[in-house]
Symmetry: C2
C-alpha cells in the first residue's frame, strides 16, 4: 500500500477547484455531491468569481483555503490544469483528482497538456487521479467526488475500479434496481499517474470491501500488476471484465507459439496466475460479485436444489453441470425425512421438487434439512411465485435459515411483479438472488472456484533467482543453453575420422545414428548414407568407413565433410513447448500437440511463466497432448514428469533471458523414461 495515495481515500479536507454556481456545470455537480454525500471532513470551494455556494464561501485563490485540506478535485479547462496543480503544490496539497477531459484522449495537443501536468505533479510530489475521469466514491466514509446525479449508490461490499467513467456511471444507475451496493468506486480515466495497479492494494485494504471488480482496458505494467493482484486475491476475490479481447494488431510470429497466442491470451494467463476471475460480461461480473460479497464459501462442489416446480429444477441441474458443479447425492436420512414431509408426488431426490403447493414452512423445513445434510455443500433455492402463497412469505421463512448457515445459499427468484417484495426482502437481508437458475448456478460456480483457489499455494517470483545465467546467452548455442538449464537434447556432432567418430559416439552414448555429412547429398538414405543402431566403438569406426565409401562411390564429385553422429532417440510421443514474450506480461508459455499439427489442431494451453509445478500440470491437464502422456488405449504412457520438467525449465530460461523473444522446442519427444528436446529454435529481440 502506497501511503501517498491515502489522501484519495481518507482526506481530512477536500477542495473543489473550479466549483460553479451554474447547475449544468460539472464544477457545480462535484460541489453538490461533496455536501449531498455527507462527507464529514472539511469542504472548500475555489472559483474564478468570489461569492457563495451551498452556504460556503467561494475562494478565488486556492492559497486562501483554510486547513484541513489534503485532496483537490480539479474541474478546470485542460489548458488551466497545470497551473491548478502548481497552486496545489503551493498550498501543500499532494493529491488531486483531475476530472476534466481534453487531454491524451483528445489528440496530440491534449497529450502534451497531460504530460505537462504530470511533470508539475512529479516535481512537487503530487499524486494525480485522472484526467478524464469521474472521480471516486466511498459510500461508507462517506465521500463522493463525482458530479453524478445523487444519491450515492447504496452501501455495500463491492469495490469497483474502472478504466471507463461512462461505464461507472451506467453501472451505478443500473445497480439501483439490482439490489446491490458498493464500498468504493474509483474511476481511473487516462491514468496520467495513478493506475489500476496502484489502486488495487488500496481497495484490497479497505475494511468495507469484500470483493473487487475491475473494468479494464489494459495494464500499464504486466508483472507489477500480476504481483499486486496476487497479493490482493489472497485477501479478497477480484473479478475482471477485460475488454479489447480481439484487438486486431496481431504481430507476425516466428514460431507456432507466437502464431497461436492471440492478442488476449496473455491476459487470460495473467489472470489465472494472479487468481483473478475473468468475467465474460458485465452482468456476469456483478452476478459473481454479489455472491462473493455475501455468501460463505462452500467446502465442495455438491449442490442441492430446492424447488416448487420441476422445469426450473431441470434448468438448474443443467446449469450446475455447465458450471462444473454436481447435484449432491442426498443422504438416505434426508430423503426419508423429505418423503415424510412432502406429498407422494413430490421429488425427494435432488433436485427436491416440493410441488406447486409448497408452503413457506415447507421451504423453510426442507432448506434446513438440506443444509444439515453433510453431503450438501451449497443450496440453490428456486422460487417462482407460489400459486397459493405470497412470494415474500417464503422469503421471510427462509431468510433466517440462510443467514445462520455457514453454507452458501443462493436464490433463483423467477418473476418480477409477484416477486418484487420478496426481492427487496432478500436484498435487505443480504441474500444473493438471481432471476434465473442459470445465473444462480454461475454464482455458485464462482464460490467454488474461490474456495478452491484459497486452498492452492502460489509461488512468488522471489522463489526464482532471476539473475543466474542472465549473461549466458551471448555466446551460447541452443544446445548449450538447454544444457545450462538441464533440458536434455540430442545434439548432432560432426566427426571427421574413425577415431573421432568412436570418441564422439562414446561421449553421446550408444546406440547412435550416423549420417553422411555432405551438402551435395540431399537424400542420404537413397545412397545408404544413414546407419541406425550403432552400438559400439568398433561398429562406429566401421560405420564411418562404410559411409565414406558409399558416398564416394555413389557421388564421386560430392564434397564430403565427414559423418554426423547423434544419439539415437527411441520413438515416443511428440509435444510442443514454447515461450513467446508478451510485451505486457513477459514470458507466455505454451504446451500442446506438437509437430506439424501444432497450428492446425490448436490443442494447446497457455500460462504465464515462470511456471510452478502446479501450473505446468494444469497446462498438461487441459490438452489432449498432455492427457495422452498418461497413456490412452493402445498408446503407451510416456514420461509426463520429464515433460513437466522441461516446461518449467524452459519457462524459467525465457524468464531469465529478456532478450529471447520466442523460443520453441518442437518436438519434445517424451520417452518411456525421460524426454528430449529434438529441435530447438530461438528468436532474439
Amino acid at each position: 500500500m502506497d501511503s501517498s495515495l491515502l489522501p484519495f481515500f481518507s482526506p481530512r479536507g477536500v477542495v473543489v477547484v473550479g466549483a460553479s454556481t451554474s447547475p449544468e456545470k460539472l464544477g457545480y455537480g462535484v460541489a453538490r455531491n461533496l455536501i449531498a454525500g455527507k462527507y464529514q471532513g472539511a469542504i472548500h470551494f475555489v472559483s474564478q468569481k468570489s461569492g457563495e455556494l451551498f452556504g460556503r464561501a467561494l475562494y478565488t485563490d486556492l492559497a486562501q483555503v483554510p486547513d484541513p485540506v489534503d485532496l483537490a478535485v480539479l474541474v478546470v479547462p485542460s489548458t488551466a490544469m497545470a497551473d491548478a496543480i502548481q497552486s496545489c503544490a503551493r498550498r501543500g496539497i499532494h493529491a488531486a483528482i483531475m476530472v476534466s477531459a481534453g487531454f491524451r484522449e483528445a489528440g496530440p495537443e491534449g497529450a502534451a497538456l497531460e504530460k505537462k501536468c504530470l511533470e508539475v505533479a512529479q516535481a512537487n510530489q503530487i499524486r494525480l487521479l485522472g484526467p478524464n475521469c469521474i472521480g471516486t466514491i466511498d459510500t461508507h466514509l462517506p465521500l463522493d467526488t463525482t458530479f453524478l446525479q445523487p444519491p450515492m449508490p447504496a452501501k455495500g461490499g463491492i469495490a469497483f475500479v474502472s478504466h471507463s467513467g461512462a461505464f461507472c456511471a451506467a453501472i451505478i444507475d443500473w445497480s439501483r434496481r439490482q439490489g446491490f451496493g458498493f464500498s468504493q468506486i474509483v474511476s481511473l480515466g487516462n491514468q496520467a499517474d495513478v493506475n489500476e495497479t496502484d489502486i488495487l492494494p488500496m481497495v484490497a485494504a479497505d475494511e468495507h470491501t469484500r470483493v473487487i471488480v475491475l473494468y479494464m482496458e489494459g495494464v500499464a505494467n504486466g508483472s507489477r500488476f500480476v504481483d499486486a493482484a496476487r497479493e490482493a486475491t489472497r485477501r479478497k476475490p477480484v473479478i475482471a471484465l477485460k475488454v479489447g479481447r480481439f484487438a486486431s494488431g496481431q504481430k507476425a510470429a516466428a514460431s507456432h507459439t507466437g502464431a497461436l497466442a492471440a492478442s488476449d491470451t496473455a491476459f487470460d494467463a495473467a489472470f489465472a496466475k494472479a487468481g483473478i476471475f475473468r468475467a465474460d460480461s458485465a452482468e456476469q461480473m456483478f452476478d459473481w460479485a454479489r455472491a462473493l460479497e455475501v455468501c460463505p464459501l462452500p467446502r465442495g462442489r455438491n449442490v442441492a436444489v430446492l424447488t416448487n416446480a420441476g422445469g426450473p429444477g431441470v434448468i438448474a441441474a443443467d446449469a450446475l453441470e455447465v458450471n462444473g458443479l454436481r447435484l449432491a447425492k442426498l443422504s438416505d436420512a434426508a430423503e426419508k425425512t423429505l418423503a415424510a414431509a412432502l406429498p407422494p408426488a413430490a421429488g425427494i431426490h435432488n433436485p427436491v421438487d416440493m410441488l406447486a403447493s409448497a408452503s413457506p414452512q415447507n421451504y423453510a423445513d426442507c432448506l434446513k434439512l438440506l443444509l444439515d445434510d453433510s453431503q450438501v455443500d451449497s443450496v440453490m433455492v428456486i422460487l417462482p411465485p407460489p400459486p397459493m402463497f405470497a412470494t415474500e412469505s417464503v422469503a421471510d421463512a427462509i431468510i433466517p435459515i440462510i443467514q445462520s448457515s455457514d453454507k452458501p445459499v443462493v436464490v433463483a427468484l423467477l418473476g418480477s411483479e409477484l416477486t418484487a417484495t420478496a426481492f427487496e426482502r432478500f436484498n435487505l437481508a443480504r441474500v444473493a438472488t438471481y432471476t434465473f437458475p442459470e445465473r444462480a448456478a454461475s454464482a455458485l460456480g464462482i464460490l467454488s472456484k474461490r474456495a478452491e483457489y484459497l486452498t492452492t499455494k502460489t509461488q512468488s517470483r522471489e522463489d526464482f533467482n532471476t539473475s543466474r545465467l542472465r549473461d549466458f546467452m551471448v555466446n551460447s548455442t541452443p544446445d548449450e543453453l538447454m544444457a545450462a538449464y538441464g533440458i536434455p537434447t540430442a545434439p548432432i556432432k560432426l566427426a571427421r575420422g574413425e577415431t573421432e567418430t568412436a570418441t564422439i559416439a562414446t561421449e553421446l552414448g550408444f546406440p547412435v545414428v550416423m549420417k553422411i555429412a555432405s551438402p551435395d547429398i540431399l537424400h542420404k538414405s537413397d545412397i545408404g548414407g544413414v546407419l541406425l543402431n550403432i552400438n559400439s566403438e568398433q561398429e562406429a569406426r566401421n560405420g564411418y568407413a562404410l559411409l565414406i565409401e558409399r558416398a564416394k562411390s555413389a557421388r564421386p564429385n560430392a564434397k564430403i565433410e565427414g559423418v554426423h553422429i547423434q544419439r539415437q532417440i527411441e520413438s515416443g510421443q511428440e509435444v510442443i513447448v514454447g515461450v513467446v514474450r508478451d510485451p505486457t506480461f513477459g514470458p507466455l508459455v505454451m504446451f500442446g500437440s506438437g509437430g506439424v499439427e501444432a497450428e492446425g489442431l490448436k490443442d494447446v494451453a497457455f500460462a504465464l511463466g515462470p511456471l510452478s509445478p502446479l501450473e505446468a500440470q494444469e497446462m498438461m491437464r487441459k490438452t489432449w497432448a498432455g492427457k495422452k502422456l498418461e497413456g490412452f488405449r493402445n498408446i503407451p504412457a510416456a514420461d509426463k514428469s520429464a515433460v513437466q520438467d522441461i516446461l518449467i525449465k524452459l519457462s524459467r530460461l525465457a524468464f531469465d533471458h529478456q532478450e529471447i523473444r520466442e523460443i520453441e522446442i518442437n518436438p519434445v519427444r517424451a520417452l518411456k523414461k525421460g524426454a528430449v528436446a529434438v529441435d530447438v529454435r530461438i528468436k532474439l529481440s
Copy 2:
C-alpha cells in the same frame, strides 16, 4: 395443421367444468380469467352446486350448457376426469384442456387414470391438452384459459409453448417488466394426447405470431418433430430451450460413435437439421425472441456501433466478435461526414464514439448516416444516460429512424432509473433494447443466423427413397453392404492356389498385398509372410508359391489355409465415419479424426442423417480432420469429396436399415483420389 386442434385456438364457446365460487380454487381462477380476459365467445360454467358466478349461471350438468360450446376446461379431481371427458363426448365437445394434476407425474395410479382419460377421449374423437398444465392464452383473440393472476401478459408477437407450467407462469410474470408480450401461450403438461409437435404448426400458422419459443424437456417422436419444425422454421423463427442436457443414463456403446454421442447430442443435431436456434438460457431465448419479433433481417454481418462513451463501445466490439459478427468498415464518405459533425476528439471509425456531450440530434444524425452507409448491415446504438440530456430525449430522436429503416437496429440501454422512461418509449415503439452491449450483440447475432438460414436450401426426407435395399441386410456381409451403397472397400480374399491367386489379384486390381493365411502364424512378417507391391499376375503366382514355401519351412506344423489377398491401398489421411441410432431421432452421424485417437481427441462433429451434401460439408468444416483434408502445411490434401460421398452414403444406409444400431468405418482412408473404407463394423439391434 390438424383441424381437430382448432377448438383450442379459436373456440366459439368455452365451458369451465369445475368452476368454483371460492377464490382460492383453480376453478374460480379459470372462470375469472375467461371473463377478465375479455373472451368474446360464449362462456359457460359447470359446477357441482348450482348458483351463479360472475353473473352467469352455474350448471350442474354439462348437458345443460347451451350452444355454442366447443372447448372444455376441466378443473376436476383426477379421479373424476375420465367421467368429465365422457360428459364432453355426450355434449358434442371435441377439445378439452385438463388443468388438474394427479396423473402420470404422481405415480402409477395417476398414470392409470391418465391412460383411462386418453382411452375415453380417443373413443370419442376428443383431443386433450394436459393434464397437469396451466392451459392456453391468446392475447389477440383474446382468450385466457389459465388460472394465473390477471391481467393477461401484454400483446406481442411471441408464441410460447412449454412443457413446464410453472415456468410459463414465472415467465409471464417476469415479462411484465421486460417490455415484451406474447401472441399465444400453450402449456402442454403431461401430453397425454397433444404434444409439442402437434402444436408447432398451429402456432406457426397464427397470424399474430412472429417468433416461436419452446421450453422443451423432450420430444415424443423425433422424426415427426424434425419434419414439423422444419416446416415451421421456413415460415417463422423457432427458438428452443431444451433442458436435461446432462441426463446421466448413458447407455453402453459398442462404437466410438456411440461413446462420443452424449445423451443430448442428438437434440443439437435435430435442432440444426430443423433450423431451430438452441438457446443456452431462458434470458437468451427471450433476448433472441425480442429481436426476431421486431427487427428486419440484416443482409450481412457488418455491424456499426454508435456510442457516447468509449468503454461500452469496446465491450460491444468484443461481443460482436464472440457472436460471429464484424465491425463494419465505414465508407470514407460516412467517416468524413462524421468528422465534420462531431468534436475533434470523437471516434469516427467504427465504433463511432460521439463523446459524452452527444445530443439527441447527434444520435439521430449519426444513426441515419450509419444506416445509409451501404457497408453497414445493422447498427447497435449504445445509450448510457447522457450527462447533459434526458435519456428519453435520445429515444424520441432515434425511434422514428429505427422504425423507418429496413436494417435492424438494437439498443443497449445502460442503466435503470435514469433510463426507465426511455425504456418504456422504446418498448412502445417496438425497438429491441438490452441492458448491456453483450446481450444486444447476441441479439444481432441471431438476426444474422436467421437471415442466413433462410437463404440455405434444405432437402426433405422425401428426397430419399427409403424403401430401396431395406431387405438387403439379412444375408449380406459388411463388404457387400458397402458395395450396395457404393462405398469403396478393400476386401480381403482367400486364395487357395496359384491360379486362384492370379484371378483374385486381377479382379481386385494391382498392386496387391499378399499375406500367408494361417491361424497358427501370428506375426506373419517375422517369417517373411507378407509381400507388398505385387504388380502382375505372374508376380502373384510366384508370390503364392513363395509364401507357402516360407511358411512350411518356418512352421512345419502350422495349418496353412492359403494366402489372403487385398488391394494395396496407398497411404493417406485417416478419418472416422460412424452412425449410432438415437432412440428419439434415428441415425446420428459422426465424422472426425479417426484411428485410436477418436475418443481421446474428440475432434468430431455430429449431424442427423440422412445427410445432405451441405450438412456433410458442415460436419467436415467443424473438425480439424475435415480441414486437414484440404491440405495443411506439409500435409498433402486428400480427396475431400470422396469422404463427403462416404458420409452421405453411410448416413443413407443407416437411415434405410432401422435394424442397424451402430455402424462405424474406422478408419476411412482418404487418398489423393478417392477414399476407402478400411475397417467396417456393424452392430444390429
